[in-house]
Assembly symmetry: D2
Homo-oligomer: 240 residues x 4
């Protein structure tokens, strides 16, 4: 499994056996490297090997678009309760940070990405995230495959055609299962909400989250003067 | 394992073999009940058995105080990346919704509760949540046991003495591990932040989260006119 | 001019010469009453006469609908800079709190209210607010009168047909003048913004304001646990 | 009175008789210039003369520190109801945008600035804002002059020693008058609140305001992805 190799502010995500040329010298990762080991470059600079943790995914996966923020991933986890042993259907894989996070929380994930190149990158990202065995990245359009997929504890959608999938989600969800839709825009969110209502889903709610950092300075405490902007609306609904 | 028994708006969390008198008649849960089964009261009213999901914990665990909201649990999960196989140290168990959620995400959790009665309720709640094998509820003060506990991927604190534990967290955390502190108040949060700085933790940040529901009405779309109030500040820091 | 008569938590807005029966006895306001005077009921209970201030309007004007909150009135004042000597056109008078506040800031206000009964109440409210000489409440639809109105420093709109008025606002505004639109809903706000763009107005911006009360308790400081909900979006644009 | 001279995106605030060298040529403002006039540079470029409006103060006054934002000025106006004929005591003049705005709303303002150079700039700013006759900028420390000042409808404070002035505000305020304190920090705000409580002021409240711009794009509507940060807490209290 890939490990993070850390030297002060530098962090590289590398596989056992991989070689990287850095400005601190060439770093050859031994095949039998383990977290906690120290590896030296040919110039004698030391890198500490560390296991990747969830929030590292945001910084170290190869990006094919803006990855979902840790806070939004957390809100999906908290509001759907995805956990060990769940089956999750995800669509709009993108970089795959959400899919990887679901996998790391113990779920078996099937995720659809339309763009074949993006899907390929996402597959490599699942390797890096250590969840390639739990996250099945499929190239294609989820809407074309719905009848064959069976049922899931949770369905997570970050695609333009989310409303169409939401409308068919009663046949995709177990009793008590959740669908979660991420969308930056009001109008698209409204369509997802209306689809959930038409489909007879329960507990339909859309949450908007504003998050700020607090600053604890010598002079006093205050919310950050640089605000955190909008990311997306999260809509949740339940099949009961 | 306990299941939810659902009849329209009524939901009861019951163990196999348990009997409950309801206004719809006496409900006797068979020993071999499974999710998906329908069970009738002696008056012939039907209840559907359903597996408990994470967000149900908030409503169905026995409360010994205000349980942490799904959104705050989600933010802890998202910002620490707790996942399958992690070891987590939790203090200030309370109702145990956070500990149960961490367990459901696949972590092995040790959680400390000072009040013996609360700890007893929390133990029953872990049974109901189906994580009694993963969440070890201990009665006592975590600060008194720190040297014997080993190392954890994440430490989560919701106690008055959180700053003291934060200050000693470098010896409690694996390389790259996170500590998360939940506190309603600015002053206590500041103390936790200062403890994290003194302890040399990295990536110290305090987040304040404002969440609103969006309303999609016939007349138009707008944020809810009843705002969601403050719950607590979440402070994260990392041992690197 | 009307004065507030205050006894502990009781406050009545009364005109000189008016008589009010209260549970503390009959209060007869002398014709020559002045702020600072004390007036006794026939049971000997004392009421202190006090001048009305802007924020009192919110509580003491007769309501024909939900009056605009002090914060939203303030934002209109702050973002348009309405001041002494300005001419302001207002539409959707309602209770008239905004019109009265504009008048109290020294502006000459023409305000249109479609409902004749509401307009009559608003006229009485202008008397109570002490701005009857500065605020001309007209019964009717502002859109029907635009060509005859001349030019204004600011136009404030809280009506369903705001977009139509916004579109014609270049002929209503002085060089550098502002139009402000208040609307609870996203869709109606979007229409106003698009009308402003079509009309060639500059500095078009829509602001959403979230306001919370801070609580300073013995235990610590925190934002209120009861949030303040959404009121309306404020859209500003400028004729330059 | 100074006027704004506008050419496309360029805006200069100039007095009658003033001469400015610009990259569009030398602009000589006639002594008898009036709003609406067009003035040409010696290169034949045209500038339109326009009256300054409140929000222009933020951009065109000479700065001696960060000026208060239009929204915070508006909130002070809305929550205190400062209007025509009021007497206002202001301390911590700084650039003077608040003092000028209070003056433009019709109030007679006495404002104290400790730094003689800043006070001198503020006096010039009052000239530019057209309120030199209504706003008396005094050099010095307001706390040293309190006994001689008489009573005010509103007291506005943006100084480090605000709590000391708040505590003595009952002798500074008319019956029903407001004190408003602006502070970026929680701790300083708490001191002001506690001073207001000790002084027996009523309706003590501290407001925190989060403001976001809404974006209306082709793709849809959403709150701005660049948030607006914290400015300051506003504390209001009333002498009744």
């Amino acid at each position: 499994m890939a490990l993070l190799f850390v030297h002060e502010d530098r962090e590289y995500l590398l596989d056992p056996g991989e070689t990287l040329e850095t400005d601190l010298g060439v770093l050859e990762v031994p095949e039998d490297v383990a977290a906690g080991d120290t590896v030296e470059t040919h110039l004698g600079e030391q890198f500490r090997a560390r296991e990747l943790r969830g929030p590292d995914l945001f910084h170290h996966l190869e990006r094919t678009g803006a990855p979902m923020l840790p806070r939004d991933i957390g809100l999906v986890l908290g509001h759907t309760g995805v956990g060990a042993g769940d089956r999750v259907l995800d669509a709009g894989t993108g970089t795959g940070v959400l899919a990887a996070s679901l996998g790391r929380a113990g779920a078996e994930v099937v995720t659809y990405e339309r763009d074949p190149d993006f899907a390929e990158v996402a597959r490599e990202n699942m390797e890096l995230a250590g969840v390639a065995d739990r996250v099945d990245v499929r190239t294609g359009d989820v809407a074309a495959h719905l009848p064959d997929l069976g049922r899931f504890e949770t369905v997570t959608l970050d695609t333009a055609d989310a409303p169409a999938v939401v409308e068919r989600s009663p046949s995709l969800l177990v009793d008590g299962g959740f669908v979660a839709v991420y969308s930056p825009f009001v109008e698209a969110t409204r369509e997802a909400v209306e689809a959930a209502r038409r489909a007879g889903l329960a507990e339909v709610e859309t949450l908007e989250t504003i998050q700020r950092e607090m600053e604890f300075e010598e002079r006093g405490t205050r919310p950050s003067t640089t605000g955190v902007g909008h990311t997306g609306y999260l809509t949740f609904a339940r099949h009961v």
